[in-house]
Symmetry: C2
């Protein structure tokens, strides 16, 4: 039986692609940026506020939900969509990255990775099978395979072993979550900046017929140029009939470079974290809200922006809320920054469909440098 | 020339009153509860979120705005309404209470009160004239006279001197902000639990033809019963053709008692502060969200509530957000608690107009005690 494709290309403009990914909770129009809702909440946004921004898909973290409130709690409450009051598509990462970066005393074996919860210190064993079970119980639309994420840069032999184990785990993940059962499953290509290693990994993963392929382990400290080059080489080699996901990336510039290479999906904390830390992304470049020059700024944070924040308040007011540590600041700033990113993605998609992506990319890169590179 | 009345009674049910206060930014239907927006923001709520709750009037604090961002900033940005994106009526307190409770090293003289800003330690002199000027610059709808607020309970002679100075300052406030110039101006009756002292103060204030009269210095540690009795005696003695405002009060029970005595306006941090601290007001009594019993609570925080929060998420989800210290928790909980208070006020007003306030009061007081007494 021919397996039904969940991903279809709508347009291609050089290597850049506009596509549609069908999920159980709706179609994801790509290229798409996923706002990060780590613990089942995009920080500061009530569910209706998130819905109003109309993201195509959001990301949540299996690791965080596993530790709190617990996958069983979410399952008993009807799954993650119902739990968090978001009824569009959800992708969860596998927790691999967090286990290696957040958990205490993680101990890696072929079986899985054992670690102490950063919430309550409890010992947890995360195996490929358990990770698939968790994401299935969460009821998400797209699950990610469990990967091994050594701190990068890593010595070649460490990197190689991590990649090989990630591949063996990918087999176990696919076995635990076979095609057309529960969520879509994406495989993750690791390998740092070693292109040959990444190609070997990709080759092995392709045999498993994943529903999408992700590039992991980028934007972890390497120079942006190095990432752009590696992604520029690798993205076109990922299966053309599946969505391609560049994990944890990135700046506007990063996104433009990756889309140009044929990447379809992104997630990143940049817009939301920057918002909380007082940096706004605007069409005129980055705005550091606390600056004294904005004390009397009666204009919106971004005069060209149509988001609820820019339609309602002045930059001076945002500055005041930030300095006074008012809780509403996070709401207003997050709404704006996410609107900025999501609008950008819609512009990119339209440009691809209309065959003028190169032009859009050039014009965006010509804008105040920091507008596209702020991270 | 006969001065035009800004307040009109719509109905009276025993001593309870339903009225309409006309302000420059709309009519305030009383009895009304004012959400507290201390620093020009109801904590956690974007302006559109506040607007959706449709409060009749909100309260902001002159003291806080004076210190940050500064009255001049707000004025240059077009006044407080425009600054905070709230276009309904605003009342500001005078800052008297905060100077005596928050400021460092306050020094009281006949001229005014000098203090150190709790924000940056700068010395500030607040005089009755300066206080009126500040509220006029903020462009609010209702200004409050500057009062002297000694810590209560106070020795009789301290209390008496504070009340007499408040009266002398009231003269200066009225002179600085005469009738029909700028904001409406309310006088404040102080005097602790000494009814005779309060009556003398009221008598003196009435000669100044204020647009409304407030009872200050209640709910500052005295037993609730003592406040109910004092307010029960004093409220009916306040001018019947002006709005009566019980400052900083209170619990649902407090409000019911005061409305029964003829009070028209209230403000209090209870619903908003309780929300942040994890206590929800519901029709089934108070809910302490962190309790383990709510771990799997798939029902809304209040099954009988029509607020956006209760229409969208479960109590278990709110509990999760609270425990995970997620910023969205404050939004969701504040929306609910304010909706609870504002709905209560609308019920009270309807009941008064329909002549069944006593019945409503009885039925509310018969509910789970803490539903009306939680503070």
């Amino acid at each position: 039986m021919e397996r039904q494709r969940t991903f279809a290309l709508v347009a291609q403009d050089c290597l850049a692609r506009a596509g549609e990914l069908r999920t159980a909770h709706g179609v994801v129009r790509t290229p798409a940026f996923m706002p990060v809702g780590t613990a089942g909440s995009v920080k500061g946004l009530a569910p209706w506020e998130l819905a109003r921004l109309q993201p195509e898909m959001i990301l949540a973290n299996t690791y965080h939900l596993l530790l709190r409130p617990g996958v069983e709690v979410v399952e008993r409450l009807g799954g993650l969509h119902r739990f968090m009051g978001w009824h569009g598509p959800i992708l969860t990462d596998s927790g691999g990255f967090q286990v290696f970066s957040l958990a205490r005393r993680s101990k890696l074996s072929e079986e899985g990775v054992e670690f102490r919860s950063h919430v309550d210190g409890k010992a947890v064993l995360l195996t490929p099978e358990g990770c698939m079970e968790a994401q299935r119980k969460l009821g998400v639309d797209v699950a990610m395979a469990l990967d091994v994420c050594p701190p990068l840069p890593a010595p070649p032999e460490v990197l190689k072993e991590a990649v090989e184990r990630t591949t063996r785990w990918a087999f176990r993940c696919r076995k635990a979550l076979p095609p057309q059962e529960g969520p879509l499953l994406f495989g993750i290509v690791q390998g740092g900046l070693d292109l040959q290693l990444r190609r070997q990994a990709l080759h092995a993963l392709q045999a498993l017929d994943f529903d999408g392929y992700a590039l992991g382990g980028f934007s972890v400290g390497e120079p942006p140029q190095a990432m752009w080059e590696a992604v520029g080489t690798l993205a076109p080699e990922l299966p053309a009939d599946c969505p391609r996901y560049l994990m944890g990336v990135g700046t506007v510039r990063d996104i433009l470079e990756a889309v140009a290479a044929g990447v379809d999906l992104f997630d990143c904390v940049i817009p939301t974290r920057n918002a909380r830390n007082g940096l706004l992304h605007t069409s005129c470049g980055p705005v550091v809200v606390k600056q004294a020059r904005y004390r009397f700024a009666s204009t919106p944070p971004d005069p060209h922006c149509a988001c609820p924040t820019c339609k309602t308040v002045s930059l001076a007011y945002l500055r005041h809320l930030y300095l006074a540590r008012e809780a509403a600041y996070v709401v207003l700033a997050t709404v704006h920054n996410l609107h900025f990113y999501l609008t950008l993605m819609r512009q990119i998609r339209s440009a691809i469909i209309e065959g003028r992506f190169a032009e859009l990319r050039r014009s965006l890169l010509a804008e105040p440098a920091a507008a596209v590179e702020a991270s």
